[in-house]
Each structure stands twice: as C-alpha cells, then as structure tokens.
C-alpha cells in the first residue's frame, strides 16, 4: 500500500511537469493549448533524432531543443494565437486543435508508426532505482522527474513574483489594456510567456521520452493527463498544478490496485469528481476563480467602461 502511494506520488511529478506549461499558458494568456501534448511529442522526437543520428545524450540535447521550443513558442504566439485571438475567445482554442492535427500527421509522415523511446540513450537511468527501508524501490528517473517538477514550478513562481519581466507578464494577464498604459508591451509579454511555456513543454517531452515510449499520436493522452492535472489543481495556479498532478497519479495508481483496468478509470473518476464538486460547491465554471470571475467580468466591465 505504501509502495502504491509512493509510486503514485512520483507518477504525479511527471503529470505536474506536463501540466506545468498548460497551466502557465492558461493562467497568463487565457489560452487552452490543445496542441500541448503534440508539441511535447515533437520535442521528444527532436531529442530522439539528435540522440539516434548524432549520438547526443538527451540531457545535452535539451540545450538545443529547449531554445528551439522557445523560438517556436514565440512564433506560435505572434503568428497564430495573436492573430486568431482577434476573432474571439474560441478561435485560439480551435487553432491549437488544428495545430495538433497538423503536428501529429507531420510526425507520422516523417517518423512512421514505430514507437520510439529515449530510454536506450540514457544508460541505466531508465531502470535504476534506490531502495528505501521496507523493501520499497523508487526509480531514479521518477525521483528526478519529481525534483524537476518542483524546481520548474517553483522557478516559474519565483520568476513571476520577483522579476520585472514576471510582473509584466502577470500584469498583462490581468489587464492587457492597462498594462499598455503603464508601459508594458503586451504583445511582447505574451510572446515571452508563450516561449517560457514551450520550454516547459520541451522538458515534459524529454521526460515523456525517457520514462516510456512515444509514437506520433501520443500527444492526445499526454494532453488529457496534463489537462486533468491542471483542472484538479485549479487551473492557473502553479503550486495547485503540482498537487493536481499528485492527486491524478495517486488516483491512477490506486485505481490500478483495485482492478487491472482501473488505472485510467481511477484518474478520470477523480477528475470528474473534482469537476462536479467544484461546480456544486462554488457555483462557478469548472475553471474555478480563474474562469469567469477573472476574465468574463473584467471584459464586461471593460465593455461598459469603453462606452463613451
């Protein structure tokens, strides 16, 4: 039982890593990025390509892949999301949905249906473990993933609260119009936020590739896990995302103990339970206080205000 709990918590670390970028992008740019999973898989393919053709270890490969992801995030915001946002709040979501389909099929065309993994390129790390007292083994990679999740979320939180750029990103998230009035280039702040989000997606892709296998259509399930973790934790809250990931990991591990088929069902059940609990308890949409009260109401107020 203790073993199940520990493994569940460590699995939650992985979910927190993949949910981090989704949650950050939602909280800052109010965009639910449906291409999130596909972008993580694309980053994993990038690392796999570097490792299999040039023999670059996935960790060194991150030094190349992460800057590429940052540039991709910048361009994604500037050339796709910013433009589609002019067409209303729904259009960016549809755009990312389309992007996910394009990415999945491009990867299928390029890499075929074979499943790949980064595990062969990281030596024994993929199966090494430490023994805890009581005969419990914890995977080194799983512990590393959890440490990365904490470092990533903590680092983002620190950046947002302590740095001028972080403050600019938060101000833009809250009120882009007023952010402009205090001297912040809202377009730049959003593009920077997208670049940061894509860097976290790149890291998520690395862990996806190292801990398991992936194929061109692996993006969907990753998006689903990320979405569930972000919503359970209260979308938009960074530490909440860590909690959400752990809750999801625990639910899946416990579900698997109950029934061999219970792994996914356990996660989905907890996700839905949280969703309905929040709906009934607070009476606000499932995205919590970040949903309507922080975007809908200010928009209505702004509309009223701009009427001369």
């Amino acid at each position: 039982m203790i073993d199940t709990l520990i493994q569940g918590i460590l699995l939650g670390g992985y979910y927190a890593v993949i949910a981090c970028g989704l949650s950050f992008m939602f909280s800052v740019m109010r965009i639910i990025n449906l291409a999130h999973g596909s972008l993580a898989v694309a980053a994993a393919y990038g690392l796999w390509l570097l490792a299999s053709t040039f023999g670059i270890s996935p960790f060194a490969g991150l030094l190349i892949v992460l800057p590429v992801m940052a540039v991709a995030g910048w361009m994604l915001q500037r050339y796709l999301l910013e433009r589609s946002a002019r067409g209303g709040a729904l259009l960016p979501i549809l755009t990312t949905f389309g992007l996910a389909i394009v990415l999945d099929n491009l990867m299928f065309e390029q890499f075929g249906a074979d499943t790949r993994s980064l595990a062969p390129f990281i030596g024994s790390l993929s199966y090494d473990s430490w023994e805890l007292p009581g005969g419990i083994y914890v995977g080194k990679l799983a512990v590393m993933t959890m440490a990365s999740a904490i470092a990533l979320l903590g680092g983002l939180q620190f950046f947002l609260s302590r740095f001028a750029l972080g403050r600019a990103i938060r101000a833009t998230a809250e009120d882009p119009d007023t952010a402009g009035l205090v001297g912040i280039d809202a377009r730049k702040a959003n593009a920077l936020a997208a670049a940061i989000a894509m860097v976290t997606v790149g890291i998520a892709g690395a862990f996806l590739g190292m801990r398991a296998t992936f194929d061109p259509y692996s993006g969907g399930p990753q998006l689903l896990f990320a979405f569930e973790a972000a919503v359970i934790g209260g979308a938009g809250s960074l530490w909440g995302t860590l909690i959400g990931g752990i809750v999801l990991g625990l639910a899946q591990s416990l579900g698997a103990q109950v029934h061999p088929q219970g792994f996914l069902i356990g996660g989905h059940a907890v996700f839905l339970a949280m969703l309905f609990a929040r709906l009934f308890l607070t009476g606000v949409p499932f995205l919590g206080r970040t949903g309507f009260s922080r975007t809908g109401l200010p928009k209505i107020r702004a509309a009223l205000r701009s009427t001369p």
Partner: protein
C-alpha cells in the same frame, strides 16, 4: 511653451464617433480641467492622448514629435501617463508591485517607490497588501502613484473622484495639491465642476464629442460652463416647448 498639441482629432468607437474635430494646445505647467456630461467624449479623448485608443484622424504632437500612431506602451516612455477611469489597479498584485510596474517604461526621475509612499502616506501600511483588498481611496492613490512612477511630463487623470466618498475625495485632492503646485502639466477629467475649476488653470467643456468652451479658469464663470455643459450656449438651440 507648447508641450502637447492636439489638432483636429477624431476618435471612433466602431461606428460611433466619440471625439469630433478636437483641437487644443497645452503649455508646460498648465492644469487643464476637461468637463462635460456623460458621453461627451472626455474619457475617449484622454485614452487617445495616452495611446490606449488610437485616433481615426488628426494629429497629436508632444514637444513637436508626432505621437498619433504611437502605441500606449511607447507613449508613456515619451512622458504621457494616464490614471485610467475606475483606477484599474492590478488587483492580484500588491501595492508595491503595482508601483514597480509603473517603472516599466524606463523613464528616470525623482519618483521612487519611497517617494510615492511619502506623498501618499496612507499606502505605507498597505505596502504588501493585494490592491484588490484596498479601499477605493487607497486604490486611487495606488493608481496615481503608479502613473507618477513613470516620471511623466504630462499626467492625465480620469475621474479620480469616481466612486469615492466626499471625505476620501478631499484627501486625494489634498495629496494631489503638491503635484498641482509643483508645475506638473496635467489634464484632469472631473465631474465635480467646483473642484475642477478650483484646481485648474484652464477649462475645456465638451459636448457630444466637440469642444464647446475653452477658456482660462479665471476668466470663466460657473454659469458659462454650466450653459456649455448642457448645450444652452448655442444660439437658436432653444428647444421648442412641446
């Protein structure tokens, strides 16, 4: 010396033309009171001066430089700062963070976080409180302080007394008094005519998007402004009693 010049400015909200053919020059040290009924176009004019709402036609120049197409985040860097209507502080952030955001434009000068706290001592105990939890007067002081942090040449104040109790308005104006006497160029939109005329050196009254009165504050009576405010100054507009 003319610091800000507005020529034949037209601003639209979609199909609605909110500002019609407005022209005026502002000299350094002027305190301009912009009065007019709701919907006269005062807020839209201020927002277009600050770059938050770009003009459809006309020209805005600052120290001779054309600013008409310059977006808001660059306009504040050139020295035009707006305290927006309804305060618009970043409610999820603390007072200090809001003030630090005011430095984003990178203009240097005498205003620092500590100097704002000297000017608005009521903010000091709330330094690390989220502005969403502050009173209206404290939020207004934060919004003014945030604009001052950019060390503006021209400060635009949009309805600083909106939604505040008379007592708090008195306090905000007492705090503004030091600014008013220090020679900062200001444009203020104010519903309270008496208060506006007491602090201003010049009064512009707007009606349906147009300037209908533009006079030094000393040379204008309350009655004249009131007439312009309601559009009663125009010859032959006496609406036939029905």
């Amino acid at each position: 010396m003319t610091i800000l010049s507005v020529q034949n400015l037209n601003v639209h909200h979609g199909l609605l033309q909110a500002v019609r053919d407005v022209s005026f020059d502002l000299a350094k040290g002027d305190v301009l009171a912009l009065v007019g009924a709701n919907g006269a176009g005062k807020t839209t004019l201020l927002r277009s001066l600050a770059g938050a709402h770009l003009a459809a036609s006309g020209r805005i120049t600052l120290n001779g430089d054309d600013m008409t197409a310059v977006p808001s985040h660059q306009r504040i860097a050139r020295g035009i700062a707006l305290v927006p209507e309804g305060r618009r502080v970043f409610s999820q952030m603390t007072v200090e963070e809001n003030l630090l955001l005011g430095k984003s434009s990178g203009r240097t000068g005498e205003w620092t976080v500590n100097r704002v706290f000297d000017a608005f001592p009521n903010l000091l105990p709330r330094r690390h409180a989220k502005t969403g939890h502050l009173s209206g007067g404290e939020q207004q002081a934060t919004a003014i302080g945030r604009a001052l942090m950019s060390n503006p040449d021209i400060l635009l104040l949009d309805e600083v007394s909106l939604g505040l109790s008379p007592l708090v308005i008195d306090r905000v104006y007492a705090q503004l008094q030091t600014l008013l006497t220090s020679g900062t160029t200001m444009v203020l939109v104010e519903q309270d005519l008496g208060r506006a005329m007491a602090v201003a050196s010049r009064v512009i009254c707007m009606l349906e998007g147009r300037v209908v009165l533009d006079k030094p504050a000393k040379g204008v009576t309350r009655d004249q402004v009131t007439k312009a405010y309601f559009g009663l100054h125009r010859e032959g507009t006496g609406r036939a009693a029905s």
